[in-house]
């Protein structure tokens, strides 16, 4: 039984956490203000690397926002009880990360004040414009889904709502993958494998974020997670990490097979400086192999190992996105296949990119927004998973 003084202390910690999150979000806003008044010149982005660090953060948050709903879908669509108990928390995390990711994406625009233009002028051939619809639809659908789960009278509707969210998030992550898949002229992108790759990555990243938040919430409330539930959920993370490795592998192998992509693959996987290091050490070793060992080696059943594995998967995600987004642009666009080229506009040269503090602050600002939404919501509403005594489905 918690004592009054321990509750007071916890209350104090809550406000400290909130203030810390608020400070980071404020720092992000400060970066936006600086970028607004000085222009993107103060970022590391340029005419060759047009999308930088903010996009790494934004795409991570958006992809994970879609993937975290997998937990909800396994509950609502496939009827698994332990996942159903976690569906509200998954829905909340999805909304929080989507908000954080979209905030970063929008505040990085050259003209963020023209949001109304983006909201009222749709170019139907643009996958970006589709995504505006997909993202706002996802917000509304997930909010409705949460309502059907948390308001007892609406409970009968939670299954159809869950089904709608299930379908919507597949389309949404397909849309995110298509942003790159439609860039046919660029060696790094323009592959039909990208949408399914992003979908499987979203499963792993979303579940990893879920594990981290769940572990923290259980620790905060001084509750222990049923070891059997933990075992099932960490095994699922393992399957998703293996699935991600498979699709990332297939993407690079297909590229290696096309003669005109071989030089690009060599750059990304072998001699491209920071990019091969981030790919092999960041994504493959730290972000995939070590988590898999932590998940599958016998005797690693403690929540702290699952938490570590999940944090590493998240780190690996950032490494992979950095390689994919920045590395993909750093490799020179092949305008004259078969020719050596040079110009004042970096034709034929590897583009350089040094992320500035402002970009990083903006990215962390997005994480902070997701953090604040989650922390406040978890405190004011009941998102704590309510497990019945465990029964195998």
């Amino acid at each position: 039984m918690p004592t009054l003084s321990s509750l007071r202390l916890k209350n104090f910690y809550f406000y400290v956490l909130l203030a810390a999150g608020g400070l980071v979000a404020l720092a992000g806003l400060y970066a936006v203000h600086m970028m607004e008044s000085h222009g993107h010149i103060i970022t590391g982005m340029n005419n060759q690397i047009v999308w930088g660090m903010p996009h790494v953060f934004a795409i991570f948050l958006i992809v994970a926002a879609s993937g975290v709903l997998n937990v909800a879908s396994i509950g609502s669509v496939f009827g698994k009880a332990i996942y159903k108990a976690r569906a509200p928390l998954a829905g909340l995390l999805s909304i929080a990360m989507l908000a954080g990711g979209l905030a970063v994406l929008m505040l990085d625009l050259g003209r963020p004040e023209r949001l109304m233009v983006a909201a009222t002028n749709y170019n139907l051939t643009s996958v970006f414009a589709w995504n505006v619809v997909l993202y706002s639809g996802m917000f509304s659908l997930t909010a409705i889904y949460l309502w059907t789960m948390m308001e007892r009278r609406m409970n009968p509707w939670s299954k159809p709502a869950g089904l709608a969210v299930f379908a919507w998030r597949f389309i949404l992550t397909t849309g995110t993958g298509l942003i790159f898949a439609f860039l046919t002229a660029r060696q790094a992108y323009g592959s039909a494998l990208l949408p399914p790759m992003f979908i499987v990555l979203s499963f792993a990243w979303g579940l990893a974020v879920f594990h981290v938040v769940q572990t923290v919430i259980y620790a905060w409330n001084e509750k222990a997670l049923d070891p059997e539930i933990l075992r099932r959920k960490k095994n699922l993370l393992g399957v998703f990490v293996i699935g991600s490795l498979y699709l990332v592998g297939a993407y690079h192998l297909t590229n290696l097979y096309f003669a005109h992509e071989a030089a690009f693959e060599r750059f990304i996987l072998l001699d491209g400086g920071i990019f091969p290091s981030l790919f092999w050490w960041g994504y493959i070793v730290v972000g995939s192999v070590v988590p898999l060992l932590l998940i599958y080696l016998p005797g690693m059943n403690k929540p702290k190992w699952v938490m570590t594995a999940s944090l590493l998967v998240i780190l690996g995600a950032f490494a992979l996105l950095y390689v994919f987004i920045i590395g993909g642009q750093a490799y020179p666009l092949d305008i004259f296949p078969g020719y050596q080229v040079s110009s004042t506009f970096a034709d034929g040269q590897i583009a350089t990119y040094q992320p500035s503090l402002y970009e990083i602050l903006l990215g962390f600002g997005g994480l902070a927004i997701a953090f604040i939404i989650t922390t406040v919501s978890v405190r004011v509403l009941n998102f704590m998973p309510q497990d019945k005594s465990y029964i195998a489905d």
Binding site: G39, G110, F336, V341, T352
Partner: protein
């Protein structure tokens, strides 16, 4: 009724004048026209930067070549890896018939005028840079800094994307693009590809010319001779 209509007309008429175009040219771009260029790379000389300088001057660009500076046109030196043959040529927006930048622009700020000129509406561009990712020619630049002393005919804006406009303000005044005019070797031939009597139309029929990245089937408005 009549009085009020009359009063309204008197009230509006002076205001109407405020909306008249700056150059008095009210004719809309015609879809019968397809503006294009034929660039003779055999005449283009290595080290000559006339077209680039003319473009910078005409459009009020700084002429800087740092990674954040706008370059609407640039000279590219290319060398065939297998034969060693070297060619120098200008590269800019290719004014595609099927421009990827227009396809991907979320707000339709990137658009193609009826006469084939691909432009950016600076009032609609939100600065997402997706067009820069989609352009196969790296023809577009993003304005990274606040701008000063702009040319009245060439509005630009911090936080928006820009590219070669074929000097649309000159075309609408019956002139040719600055790069074509200033090229000392007369390597750039500008004209209406659709007009059977135009020099460019007759020349593209008689000489062998290529489009860059023709494999993408964008049907560029700029063709190269001697590649």
């Amino acid at each position: 009724m009549k009085t009020s209509l009359g009063a309204a007309a008197i009230a509006i008429a002076p205001g109407m004048l405020l909306f008249s175009p700056a150059h008095g040219n009210t004719a809309a771009a015609s879809s019968k026209v397809r503006w294009g260029m034929l660039i003779d790379t055999t005449r283009c000389t290595d080290g000559c930067n006339d077209c680039v300088n003319a473009c910078n001057k005409e459009n009020g660009l700084s002429g800087g070549t740092s990674p954040t500076d706008s370059q609407w046109i640039r000279k590219i030196e290319i060398k065939d890896v297998s034969t060693g043959r070297a060619v120098s040529l200008p590269m800019m927006c290719q004014h595609c018939e099927h421009p990827p930048c227009v396809d991907v622009c979320p707000t339709a700020a990137s658009f193609k005028r009826a006469d084939g000129i691909v432009l950016v509406d600076r009032h609609r561009c939100i600065g997402c840079r997706y067009c820069m990712m989609a352009c196969p020619y790296k023809a577009r630049s993003f304005v990274h800094e606040p701008l000063h002393d702009q040319k009245p005919d060439v509005p630009r804006g911090k936080g928006t994307v820009e590219a070669c406009s074929f000097c649309v303000h000159r075309i609408d005044n019956g002139q040719i693009p600055a790069c074509a005019e200033e090229c000392r070797n007369k390597a750039i031939l500008f004209g209406d590809l659709n007009d059977p009597n135009s020099e460019i139309h007759q020349k593209v029929r008689s000489v062998s010319s290529t489009q860059i990245r023709a494999d993408l089937q964008l049907n560029t408005g700029i063709r190269f001779q001697g590649l």
